[in-house]
């Protein structure tokens, strides 16, 4: 059975660390980093990348449009 895997790319320097994507993620992939970006914000990153299903909910709620979402289909045993 094919399984869906996703990944997100966050534009770290534009992220304002509002954490709306963190609560919008249904599989709890995203979290705010301990490190800060150039403006002093704790940016969002994939803390749990294996769980991402590429649903793009994080991208939809991001007020600063800093999230790109990628998705592939993989075989379950691959």
């Amino acid at each position: 059975m094919a399984k869906v895997r996703g990944a997100v790319k966050v534009d770290i320097e534009k992220c304002k660390g509002c954490s709306l994507c963190v609560v919008a993620c249904p599989t709890k992939v995203l979290a705010l980093a301990r490190e800060v970006n150039g403006k002093g914000y704790n940016y969002a990153y994939m803390a749990n990348p294996e769980a991402c299903i590429g649903c793009a909910n994080c991208g939809l709620v991001c007020p600063d449009s800093v999230i790109e979402v990628y998705k592939i289909k993989v075989e379950a045993d691959a």
Binding site: R5, G6, A7, K9, K14, K16, G17, C18, S19, L20, V22, V23, A24, Y41, M46, P49, E50, G54, C55, A56, N57, G59, L60, V61, C62, P63, D64, S65, V66, I67, E68, V69, Y70, K71, I72, V74, A78
Partner: protein
């Protein structure tokens, strides 16, 4: 298991920033609803392929600088006068799709006359009304839409109905006008709400393309700086307190 670097490839892209948005970093506070509305507006303009034909009218308020963020033609209006300016633009350039983008202090307070009369004439424009119950830009003062008992910088003990009146439900008022074609109230706090709001915007822009008259979209929003809450807590507060007073859904059309 596929590696993250193998997934992040051009061919696998499913969601990215709209081309109608510029690369400027928005001046809005972290978590501001304006950013989400700008984004879905850009997506609707891109999907309907009307970038060249859309003219926005920005208000006074935080979104006064909206012209920096969307690659379309813009006009900036005096406080509350966006519907009047949009009327002029829409009448002079009837083939363009014109929208006014206003906040609640702009639309429901100083601009009440303009919006009521523009809607009463049934001007062929889209009005996007961002309602966060506060004057966000100037420091969180009480607006006509502020909820009863809601503390603001000019009503620190909460809004007193006896002194300042009830929260103004201007969307319901406008829905009663016969010339208005489509009136809806949306929010952008969850992915599902964002999708629904985008659908409403798309319908409104299609309707003005068919010259159906005024389209009015209220977006119940947050102002986390003005409300003194985190962005996530603001959304929770909005669902708990704003939604009972400003219920979601289509009111007309």
């Amino acid at each position: 298991m596929a590696e993250v670097k193998d997934i992040i490839k051009e061919g696998n892209l499913v969601y990215k920033k709209s081309k109608v948005l510029t690369d400027k970093i928005m001046h809005y506070c972290p978590g501001c609803s304006h950013g989400v509305v700008h984004k879905i507006l850009a997506e609707v303009i891109e999907e309907l392929n009307i970038q060249e034909d859309t003219i926005g009218v920005s208000p006074v308020g935080c979104s006064v600088l909206a012209y920096n963020y969307l690659h379309i033609d813009w006009q900036q209006a005096a406080h509350g006068r966006a519907p009047a300016v949009a009327t002029a633009v829409a009448r002079l350039l009837p083939n363009k799709r014109v929208f006014a983008y206003q906040g609640d202090g702009d639309l429901a307070s100083i601009g009440t006359a303009e919006i009521i009369h523009a809607c009463n004439r049934g001007e062929n424009i889209v009005v996007i009304f961002i309602n966060n119950g506060i004057y966000g830009m100037t420091g969180g003062q009480m607006a006509p839409t502020t909820l009863e008992g809601m503390p603001t910088s000019t009503s620190p003990y909460g809004r007193d109905i006896a002194m300042t009146g009830h929260p103004l439900k201007i969307t319901e008022l406008i829905a009663q006008l016969p010339a208005v074609n489509f009136v809806t109230r949306q929010a952008v706090h969850t992915p599902a709400a964002v999708r629904k709001c985008k659908k409403a915007l798309q319908k409104a822009f299609e309707n003005i393309g068919e010259k159906k008259g005024t389209q009015f979209i209220e977006v119940v929003s947050t102002c986390n700086s003005g409300w003194k809450l985190s962005p996530v807590k603001s959304n929770e507060w909005m669902v708990e307190n704003m939604f009972p007073v400003y219920p979601m859904g289509d009111i007309k059309g």
